[in-house]
């Protein structure tokens, strides 16, 4: 199996606090890989190290065989990463269509822009909102719009930090189905998430972080069956 993304002994310290310590993570081409862990486990910090929003303290990030540890985020995107952050990162004062255009104009011919925008608007269920400022959309619609912008880059690896934050259960389910559909078309997906229902729905492989270190890993079945994972998520059970 081809390794698409790899981190080797990746560490990040903020002053005296080790947010991420010696993390070895491998994402294979064509899989949906979920990164989970309780609050404060270092998931988002690891995500930011992978996408280049934080500089590493030690270690290495390799993407498609290229050492991208010192690359700026836009350089990683040009290599095939596409990133969706936790909070909806849409351009709130710009119309929905223009948000998509800004992402699409990278690689789509000007003559085909409108058709491609229409296709994405349809996919995201935002056709009737195309002319509205993105900031007036509901939270869930903004999340989808941002997912649409990330997809517009036609990435090799789609990285998403808590894509279901603020979504209703129904919207979460639809988002999960969208992820699975994209994956079946060949897209590799790395998701940071703590919604276990969503993870069960989409994950093929899971890595569990705890106190900034890799705590457990394997298939979703392996992870759910691991009593240590239940313990860090739910706390130690006591017999009284």
């Amino acid at each position: 199996m081809t390794v698409l993304l790899e981190t080797r002994r990746l560490s990040k310290r903020f002053g005296g606090h080790a947010a991420v310590s010696n993390v070895d993570l491998t994402v294979n081409a064509g899989e949906i890989h979920c990164l989970i862990g309780p609050n404060g486990a270092g998931k988002s910090t690891l995500f930011k190290l992978i996408v280049g929003l934080h500089g590493v303290t030690a270690g290495q990030v390799t993407f498609q065989g290229v050492d991208v540890t010192r690359h700026r985020p836009f350089e990683r995107v040009k290599l095939g990463m596409s990133i969706k952050m936790q909070a909806p990162g849409v351009f709130k004062e710009l119309p929905v269509r223009q948000n998509l255009r800004i992402a699409l104009q990278h690689h789509v011919q000007p003559s085909q822009l409108t058709a491609e925008e229409d296709r994405l608007l349809e996919l995201l269920g935002l056709t009737t909102d195309a002319g509205r400022p993105a900031g007036v959309l509901a939270h869930g619609q903004q999340q989808w719009l941002e997912i649409g912008m990330a997809l517009a880059l036609k990435p090799t690896l789609l990285l998403m930090d808590e894509p279901t934050a603020g979504l209703s259960p129904e919207e979460t389910y639809i988002t999960g189905e969208l992820m699975k559909k994209l994956n079946s078309e060949g897209m590799t997906v790395l998701v940071v998430e703590h919604d276990m229902a969503f993870i069960r729905q989409i994950a093929q492989r899971v890595t569990v972080l705890h106190f900034g270190e890799v705590f457990a890993g394997g298939t979703i079945g392996d992870v759910i069956a691991d009593p240590r994972v239940a313990e860090i998520y739910l706390g130690k059970t006591r017999d009284y």
Binding site: P73, V77, F91, L94, P95, R101, I102, Q105, M149
Partner: protein
């Protein structure tokens, strides 16, 4: 390319707008035939400043970088033109060479200052502070160049009194004569430049580049996560906007055949901010029209009292911030749109409105 004249970044895409635009250009073309030479020269003078306003609109309104440095680049290009035109002799088209070199100098100065600010992650209010500081440094520096040792070639800088009597823009003309750009010829030159710059900016703003600069104004990190090297686009925007201030500087220097440090210093540096904020920094047309009208009103008032005119500028800025942060020109357009829409809804009745919704 012509399709890009209209787009999401610019107001005015209707047939009525473009017919009005052509009408204004037509009136401007015949204006010198109907007005006296003083008024024509005066309109040219007012139009000269609109390049600086449009440049600031690009940098601040569209690019999100509040620059107090417009008069810095105005001064660099103005003094640059004065020194070059004086040294080159000012005939046989050398003044246009001086114009091009002075503009290049202003753009290079903007590129150097912009590089250190943008790559040094200076943004927000600090962008304004650094550009204002650089502006004041140049103003104070030029103010202390009164001694005879402060000369470049044959051109003396003259401290607070400034430079004067440099050749005006001119080109070789029939019979060995030269055509000097003052009065009516200057008016037509400035008019043509305003139209070219305005239309050029509309195309630029509605192009791929324009989409990126508004994206980086909204959220620079998000723009970078879409694969754009935001720093390069910010620098390009800053250089273009500053270059336009430089164009104002050269034309102003040629128009009056003088330039002083006072046209760079603090009161002067605050003026473009007021013109653009009042007019509406979010749109290039609003900035062009609004700035011209503000400049005209300022000049009319200055005849009676310069203090009153300056006070009015301050009041205008205050009112803009409190009442119409998006600018009065844009505010009026939006208000009229709401009024028209309201009337249309009123006419169509509530039932139809519900169906449309």
């Amino acid at each position: 390319m012509f399709k890009l004249l209209n787009g999401p970044q610019t107001l005015g895409a209707t047939r009525v707008f473009w017919i009005s635009f052509l009408f204004v250009v037509l009136v401007a073309l015949v204006y010198p035939a109907a007005a006296d030479a003083y008024d024509v020269g005066n309109v040219a003078y007012l139009l000269i400043w609109t390049f600086m306003a449009m440049g600031l609109c690009l940098v601040w309104g569209y690019g999100g970088m509040l620059s107090f440095g417009q008069t810095l680049f105005f001064g660099v290009a103005g003094y640059g033109y004065a020194v070059l035109a004086t040294n080159l002799g000012g005939d046989a088209g050398t003044t246009f060479l001086a114009l091009i070199l002075a503009l290049t100098l202003a753009c290079m100065a903007a590129a150097v200052l912009g590089y250190f600010m943008i790559w040094g992650r200076v943004n927000g209010v600090f962008f304004g502070i650094v550009t204002l500081s650089a502006t004041l440094v140049l103003s104070f520096f030029l103010g202390q160049t009164a001694g005879p040792e402060w000369r470049i070639g044959t051109a003396r800088l003259n401290g607070f009194n400034g430079m004067k009597d440099m050749p005006a823009l001119n080109v070789p003309w029939r019979g060995g004569e030269s055509l000097t750009f003052d009065g009516v010829p200057l008016y037509y030159l400035v008019m043509a430049l305003v139209v070219v710059v305005y239309l050029g900016l509309r195309v630029l703003l509605n192009s791929r580049f324009g989409n990126i600069i508004v994206a980086m104004r909204e959220d620079p990190q998000r723009a970078e996560l879409l694969g754009y090297d935001v720093r390069k686009f910010q620098l390009a925007t800053f250089v273009i906007g500053s270059g336009l201030a430089g164009l104002s500087g050269v034309l102003y220097t040629s128009w009056g055949q003088f330039i002083t440090p006072a046209s760079i210093g603090l009161p002067a540096a605050a003026m473009p901010i007021i013109w653009v904020a009042f007019s509406g920094r979010g749109d290039i047309t609003a900035t062009l029209v609004g700035s011209f009208l503000v400049l005209w009103a300022f000049q009319v008032l200055t005849v009676y009292s310069q203090q009153a005119a300056l006070l009015l500028m301050g009041v205008m800025l205050l009112c803009t911030v409190v009442v119409a942060p998006q600018g009065f020109a844009i505010g009026i357009v939006q208000g009229m749109r709401r009024l028209i829409r309201g009337r249309a809804v009123h006419r169509s009745g509530p039932g139809e409105r519900e169906i449309k919704a």
